[in-house]
Symmetry: C2
Amino acid sequence: MPNETLEVYIAARRAEVDALLATYLPPASCAPASLHEAMRYSLFAGGKRLRPILALAACDAVLGRRDVVLPFAAALELIHTYSLVHDDLPAMDNDDLRRGRPTAHKVFGEATAILTGDALLTAAFALMAEKGLACAIAPKKILSAMLEVGVAAGSAGMVGGQMLDIAAQGKEGIALEDLHDLHLRKTGFLILAAVRMGGILGGGGPAKRAKLTQYGEAVGLAFQIVDDILDVEGETAQTGKPVGADASKAKWTYPRKVGLDAAKKEARVLIDRAVAALKSFGPEADRLREIAAFTIHRTV
Amino acid sequence: MPNETLEVYIAARRAEVDALLATYLPPASCAPASLHEAMRYSLFAGGKRLRPILALAACDAVLGRRDVVLPFAAALELIHTYSLVHDDLPAMDNDDLRRGRPTAHKVFGEATAILTGDALLTAAFALMAEKGLACAIAPKKILSAMLEVGVAAGSAGMVGGQMLDIAAQGKEGIALEDLHDLHLRKTGFLILAAVRMGGILGGGGPAKRAKLTQYGEAVGLAFQIVDDILDVEGETAQTGKPVGADASKAKWTYPRKVGLDAAKKEARVLIDRAVAALKSFGPEADRLREIAAFTIHRTV
């Protein structure tokens, strides 16, 4: 179990992220009402806010100003949420449940769900541009962070990962290398971008940022492996989706490829690597260390 | 008919935009191949590149450097193309033909088409951030242009317009005010953003930019009305989609609401207003004037 202090930290950051997003998005009463309602329904569905929290903890690790970095961190959640809404669509993973609630297309219809994802993705970049024009961070750093996010979320990253994931479904086998590539793109790159964003916008120097990159790479991959393990072992109450949902779609996962024990061992190795990357940091990186440990604890 | 010089200008700008986009996007051989192939299929489908050309002509009008503004103008076409790919989806307008060719989801399947749109939208912002970091324009101006585009393309703009369009289909009536609002959002705001982007990144002062805004508002609305008229009157060879496609979906258009003659008159009034807004500009705004005139000529 994570210690109480991390829990308090996570709850506090999550509340800040949620408050910012609730203020930023147009109210559900604003036309088109169904679109704005669906955006809020999808966004405020009990997500963990892992990506924003990682960005804020990375900002802490380079002794940056967390309050200034907050809106950019929050933008990551808009992108993550859009990807979930689109992944759930009938033409994609065709999921009826997400975090224990009916998915957006089940509630609002398919057309609205597609547009909801589009609007959330667009809002992420509009939010970063707007806050970038009105904050103390150098505009070049804002553009750097936006580029990180754009590349991580695009065809070479997250969208490409979802494409590879769909293409691999139902196939008889997948090379470990290809599964690794798929996971890196689908989950790893955006998590890495979150950590790097915190380093860039928090004002970290090149040496610190290089270490944060190592941390982010390891945590990003570990997170996807743990998610796969939870799909096999977790309870619906915890994951919000039926146990074995991936297996029932013939998805390729780490546990399926290498077995549950080897997958757990791999996750532990990655978490150790993530923590080791932070050796040169003082207690200012404790949150990042704790989040890495917390990732693996989700499976026990 | 537009004069030859405008035709030459349009062909030259279009070639520049296409060359930049062809270089920027990953090759179709790059994994995931089907995604990158679908992105190129959708992007290089014979589009007019109206939005990039308007941005470049607005840059000319403030005596800016067109070569520096080019990548940002090109990003607008990525956004426009993504919106077409998603609008064509079965859950949305369910179109089989676009510019005389099978739509993306017909060729590549629905999942790939959704991801293609997502990837094109993401690429637009990544392109602007990347080029913004490596060009002579002040980064604050880049962020301003990105904000314009993000707001124009989002839930208050283009995505919201598509939502309103779908919601209005099949209804027995629509207030002229609501139809106006729908058109402004669906087409007008991104065209306006294109013109404003050219003014901002071209280095225009506030007075010139205010005039460009008036021009962009009028041209954006005129363009949608002319599109509606072409849907009634145009030939498939010219528009690339069956004549009366909108009517067959019970879409609300200007000609349907006010009649064909009144729609044509309204388009002419708007074009006159657009040209009048440029009165204080010299011959450097001739391209913008000619493009406005060209818009209306498409209907005769």
